[in-house]
Amino acid sequence: MPIIIEQLSHTYLPGSQLAYPALSDVSLTVQDGEFLGIIGHTGSGKSTLIQHLNGLLLPTAGSVLVDGLDTREKKLRKQIRSLVGMVFQYPEYQLFEETVERDVAFGPKNMGLSEEEIAPRVEEALRLVGLNPSEFSEKSPFELSGGEKRRAALAGILAMRPKYLVLDEPMAGLDPRGRREILALIESLRSDYGTGIVMVSHSMDDVAMFADRIAVLDKGSLFMVASPEDVFSHSTELLEMGLNLPQATQLVRALRARGIDIQHDYFRMEELAADLIGRWNHDR
């Protein structure tokens, strides 16, 4: 069953002078096992939107149903939060336990699992994020490096074995290698476990590469939700919203401006490169 967001509006500080409508009338469905990218300019409401997916924020109007469970129902919230794992920006700031193992076990423990059930989950989660359990279990999370902390925090979410994983700019502040590893991990969660992924990202290349569909937010409204191909063919509108384009799309636009006729709206570098190489071979 999917996550169904219907005509969702959210106003911060409603009723006060500072009332701010951060989301208005957003309808969107996250399908089982899909990779949904969310893009939008700073302040467009991305973080506000995703915090609705597990009931951290509640709709001012409209509704959010996670596998049929309404997030407004207080009784269902625990269940919803174990279905939808949420990784905030800089998740390493949530680490608090004395050892990595205990920190990763925090989520499963809150779900009410027994020690015997928790231990294998913790080990599995640590392995998934590439931290060797025998080496890291007993370490204090505060003595890890920045990248290791991020993985430990991620393991803390994965140990809950969520059906959906929601990530808010999970690669922010990582070096290129760290970025690639986190992306590869997210991709493998989807392919190996069928986890549905919702990822907010400022990197158009990352969403272009991995997302099945992309939702574009603009000033609190949903501009469009479509395949990367459709979304990036609206390059003029995206640029007007203050968004970037994937490198391949930028190159296509630059080549077209120079009179080179490329019919297809490429958004992945490999595909554009193949096209260009084809032309070059043909011309010779």
Binding site: Y12, L13, L18, Q51, N54, L56, K78, R81, S82, G85, M86, F88, P91, Y93, Q94, L95, F96, F106, G107, N110, M111, F142, G156, I157, M160
Partner: protein
Amino acid sequence: MTANISLGQYLPGNSVVHRLDPRTKIFLMALYIAIVFVVKSLVVFLLPVVLLVAMFLFAQVPASYFFSALKPMKWLLVFMFVINLFATQGTTLWIDWKFIHITQEAVEQAVYITLRLVLLVAGTSILTLTTSPIALTDGLEKLMSPLRKLRFPAHELAMMMTIALRFIPTLMEETDRIQKAQMARGADFESGNIFQRAKSMIPVLVPLFVSAFRRADELAMAMESRCYHGGEGRTRMRELHFHWRDLFATLLLTAVLVGIILLENLPL
């Protein structure tokens, strides 16, 4: 949730009161408090009441702020009134019914005490309503600076206050964020008895302290790399200057104070 609380209650504006020097305003508040305390008779109480109304008018602060200043105090006010009503000894009995004895003196006493509290709270709220926290600490620093001769760390104290004020909203935002992150992992801050709840705050407090220390460290580093070395020989970007209005306001309030002392003590 927590991040939404606006700190203090500064109401930006450009009234005469806003433009008074913060040092003057702090001094005027001291005068005003003195006035409220020397008043003894009901008729003379009119003076500080008029003064309070005048302050709200000159500061262009909406009357609603009068009530919001008193709101957190409402139970204390009721409590003080009731206690004084029943506990004050007197001679002129007004009500004498079963175990309830209320005398004229008790009613007067209860009214005085309550009125005094109202005047104090509402009056001093004018200071924080019309002075930004930064101007306030600047003013305090200047007022305390003569004490430096006695090795009193006036500048350091003011700097600490400024930094604390600056970081309160940041820490609130941070608390909100960490709380949400732990709630996403199933943490529950709302149910359970008081011990369970206190214990459930650990996953928030630990990261909060860690980040506060990190921020403090970074700030110290940033200040040092910009050659901050304490108060000695430091000049300011915004110098404080006294104007005629400062002198005028001070004279006015001093006159009221002296007037009240005379009124209360002269045999009329």
